[in-house]
Subunit: 202 residues, 2 copies
Amino acid sequence: MHTENKDEMRDKILEAALKRFSQFSAAKTTMNEIADDLHCSKASLYYYFPDKNGLHNAVLAKVGEFYFKGIEEAVENMTSGAEALRNIIKHRHDFIKKFCRLELFKILKDGPPAQIAEAMMEVKKKETALIAKMIEKGVQDGDFEVEDVVQAAELYNQALIGLRFSVLEGIPHLGEPTQEEFDMIISKQKKLAEIFIKGISK
Amino acid sequence: MHTENKDEMRDKILEAALKRFSQFSAAKTTMNEIADDLHCSKASLYYYFPDKNGLHNAVLAKVGEFYFKGIEEAVENMTSGAEALRNIIKHRHDFIKKFCRLELFKILKDGPPAQIAEAMMEVKKKETALIAKMIEKGVQDGDFEVEDVVQAAELYNQALIGLRFSVLEGIPHLGEPTQEEFDMIISKQKKLAEIFIKGISK
DNA sequence: CTTTTGACTTTTTAAGTTACAAAGTCAAAA
DNA sequence: TTTTGACTTTGTAACTTAAAAAGTCAAAAG
């Protein structure tokens, strides 16, 4: 393997790791496999990343960035608060479908490795802040009436996310939800979003 | 151990099992312990129940009955749909706090043992039906405006339950939530309930 | 005839072991 | 500065096994 500079090699590794991780999960991917994909030695990977966890974190960070770019765009091109709130559902769903094997939520369930737990807190805050901007827009347009905008944003987010768990409750979910289950969740989320939007409307 | 009749003995066993199960969980309770509590032999337990699972199910059924009795009462004494919907939160919380060690939700996560899965479906339907009655009341009083009452009831239920998961997400929950976490959940559920109620109001 | 039981067998589970695979290191080479 | 093959260390999945708990039953008790 030969690249022009250090950063490029780092990106190549990140790319290869993302491919493996999102197809088979990080747990089922060995450092040797990633090295083989890149036609380089395993030791090289350790020259760019401190350990497997560090690589995993870097992949997660990259993907997270991609996620937020999408929402940020949506916030900028917002025509109305309600519309923006609706759009989140599809955007998030597309994201989850693409990267669900990255063990984003599995990591949380087991025991958040402190390092990631902190990052997750940041992510949540950031996401809530973006949703708050959408609600704020609605308030300024005179559409919405909300006491605490940030609180409402957090609640909107958690209510939608929560449906993912409660809708699947009782169904033995071996790994990822099926397409059918995904559709069920989205449908419910859309309905809840409409009621929520009406609930905070003037 | 001596009792007047068969049913009484069955009840004694159920009572003893509930005590153990709700203090230590069913998994950490042995049939011998229950027998010792009752000063009878383990074999006696098997005279009244086919196996440990059967006993566990019977305990769950008894507790479930208790749960529904409370909601049914609430439905009967309903002054308004909105009020009834609000009351569910407290009622359910009291119930969970009391019986959270009965592995009600743990059972679902692992793999529903078919037998219980079916019963759970029934329970959900029954609960949804009761909530639907509350919403129906609101519709008939001219307070609510809802397309599909049953669907709205299901959504209300799942949205509230879902908050229990999403609010705790990222927090390493070793066993049961703490009091603080419980309070957080209830607070969020109440806020969501208000928005939901406003969202289906005329 | 119904209910209870002690003594028994079978099944589950937790602890300990081991062997292999994967993680991680490093001195030397490119 | 970057890469690598050969190496050591660590983690994990597959067996083994001994204790504990589940579950059975023929006989006893009322």
